[in-house]
Symmetry: C2
Subunit: 371 residues, 2 copies
Amino acid sequence: MISTLQHRRAPAEAGVRRCPIGSVQLDNGRTLPDVVIGYRTWGTLNADASNAILVEHALTGGTDVVTDDDTRPGWWQGLIGPGLAIDTRRWFVVAANIVGGCFGSTGPASVAPDGVPWGSRFPLITVRDSVRAEAALADRIGIDRWHAVIGGSLGGMRALEWAVEYPGRVRHCAVIAAGAYSTAEQIAWVQPQLMAIRQDPSFRSGDYYGGPPPAAGLGLARRIAHITYRTESEFGSRFSRLPQGAEDPYGHSSSVAGRERYAVESYLDYQADKLAGRFDANSYIAVSETLVSHDVRRGRGDLRRALSGATADFTIAAISSDRLYLPAGSYELAHALPGSPHVAEIDSPYGHDGFLLETEAIGSLLAQRIV
Amino acid sequence: MISTLQHRRAPAEAGVRRCPIGSVQLDNGRTLPDVVIGYRTWGTLNADASNAILVEHALTGGTDVVTDDDTRPGWWQGLIGPGLAIDTRRWFVVAANIVGGCFGSTGPASVAPDGVPWGSRFPLITVRDSVRAEAALADRIGIDRWHAVIGGSLGGMRALEWAVEYPGRVRHCAVIAAGAYSTAEQIAWVQPQLMAIRQDPSFRSGDYYGGPPPAAGLGLARRIAHITYRTESEFGSRFSRLPQGAEDPYGHSSSVAGRERYAVESYLDYQADKLAGRFDANSYIAVSETLVSHDVRRGRGDLRRALSGATADFTIAAISSDRLYLPAGSYELAHALPGSPHVAEIDSPYGHDGFLLETEAIGSLLAQRIV
C-alpha cells in the first residue's frame, strides 16, 4: 500500500509496522479490501501472550503514544516506558492506527485496488468496524486476549466497543473522557468542521491527491475543535484580551479585510497550522465520521442491555472541566455497565484535552486499577 | 444612500426610517463620512422628551424588535406594545440599526463617496464608535436623555457604553447577557466564523457586491455561532441521535463525500440558510468585529475606575445556562459598578439565546426595575 502522502507522513510513521489483515466487512454492508493496519509496540510479549495492552488513540492521534524524540513527544509521553505507570519491562504495549487514519493504516490517501487513492470513495468506518479490524490485527500478532484495552475520547469509544464486541478478549477496559454514544451536541460540533474542509476549493470532493491539500479548511476545522477541547477559564487566564506581540487589534483600518490579532487568535493559528502540517484532511473527515457513528447501543437494545454481555473490569474516567465529553456521559455509561463501576473524575482545568495532559493522574489511576 | 442589497433587505427594512448624521469620528482615528442610521420607533415622544427608551439589538438583529407580521415576529416580540411590559401607550421606543449592519444603517454594502460599495474598505467600528453614532441620532430626533437604554448580548454592550460614555443621557441601563469586555473565549469563537466567510471563494476580499454573496461561508459561521448560543442539554433532549426524517446516517457509502444527516445537522442547516438569506456577510464580519472590540475599560483605567462615572440605575441580568456570555461576566460587571447592583439570573435551558427567548422573565424584570 503506497501512500500519496508519504513525504508528509514520514516523521510520525517512523517505526510503524504494517500488518495486512485482508478485507474488512463493514457495518454498512460494504467490504474494504486489502486493509493494512499500522501499529507500533513497546516491550516484549510473554510466552502465554497474557501481558498485552492495547492503547487506543483519539481523533488526530496515531501510534506515537510515546517517542524517543524529545522534540516530538508522544501524546501520552511519560505514561509508558521502563519504570513508568505502564511499565514496558512487564507489559507488551500495542498501539494501532485507526482504519481511515493517515499514520500507517489504510485510509482515504491509500491507493485502492484500481491504483487510484480512495479519496472521495472512502467508506464510512464505524467504531465497531475499526475494532473489527483491530481484532484481525490481534489475531495476526498472536494476542487472543488483552490484559487491557485503554483509550481516551475516540480511543475510549474504541476501548468500549472492544469490551462489548469481544468480551472474551478484554480483561480490563479503561474508557476515559468518552460516553456510550456520540451526543447531539458532539454531532453538531463535527458538522461545521467537516463543512469547512469540504468548502475549501482545494478539496475537490476529496480527490485532491496530487494537488494542494485543503489546508485552510482543515485549519479552520481544527480551530473550532480546539476551542471545544479547552475551557473558557484557561483561555481567560492565559490570553485575556492581550494582543499578539506588537500587533494592534484596534489599529487596522478595515474590519472586513481583517485586522491585527489578539494572542488567543495567534494561538489558534498555531494549533491549526500544526495539524494541517501533519494530518490528511480526508482522514480528518473519515475519523470524525467514525466518532459521530459511535453508539454502543446500535443493534443491541437499550444501553443496559447493550452492555450486559461485557465481562471486562471497567475503569471509567472523566475530566472534571470537559465541556465536549461531559462527565455526565461517563456517569451514564458507568451506571449502565454491569456492576455500575465507580467514575474517577480527574480534576483538571484543561477541559477535554485533560485526557492528554493529566498523564500523572491517569497513570495513578491505571496503576491502581489495571497495571 | 442606495444599498446594493436592497432586494434582499427589503422585508426586514419595511418601516425603517433613515437619519443622516454626517461624519462619525472613529476610535482608530479615521472618519466614516455620510453616515446614515436606520431606526424605527413605537409610541409617541412626550412634550419634554422624557419617555424615550432605546432598545439595542444584538449581532444579527435589527430594528425589527417587534413586528405586525405574525409570519415574521420581531426578536423581542411580545415585550413592546400597547399594554405589554414596555407599554407603548406610555413609552416612546427607539431601535437603531448598528453602524456596520445591513438593516438601514451605513455598512459595508453601503455606497462610499466614490460611488462604490465600501466592501473591503469598511473600517473597524468599536462599540464606542457605534454608540457615538447613536448619540448623534438622539440629538437629531430630539432626545437629550433616555429614560432607559436596554439591550442583550451586543445590545447589552452598547447599553453599557452609553451609560459610561454619556452618563448624563441615560437614566436606566439594562445590560442582559453581556459582560464588561469580550473575553478570550468570545474572541476565539469569532475567529473561525469570520475565517469561514473569508475563505469562501465568493468573498473576493469583501468586494463581492454585484456577484454571488459568500453564502456558504456565512452559513458555516452561523452554524458555529448557533451551537455556542444554545446548550448541550437542549440539543440532547430535542435531537438525541435521531436521523433527519427518512435519512440514514449509517447508510451512505462514503464518509469523505458525505452521508445522510442526523436531525441536529438538519437543524443547523436550517439556521444557516435562514441567516444567509437575510444578512450580509460583510456586515456579519463588521458587527462581529464590533463585538470583539468591546472593552469598557479601554482608555479608562481598571474596571472599577472605568465604570466610576456611570450614574445610571443599572439592571444587570444573566441567563443561567449561558455558555458564551457566562453569568460570571455579569457578576464581574455588577460588582465593579457603582453601588454593585444585584444580578438577576434568569433561569433558562436555552443558553445565550435565552436573552431572546425568555421574554416573559425579561419583561417582568424590566417592569419591576425600569418601566
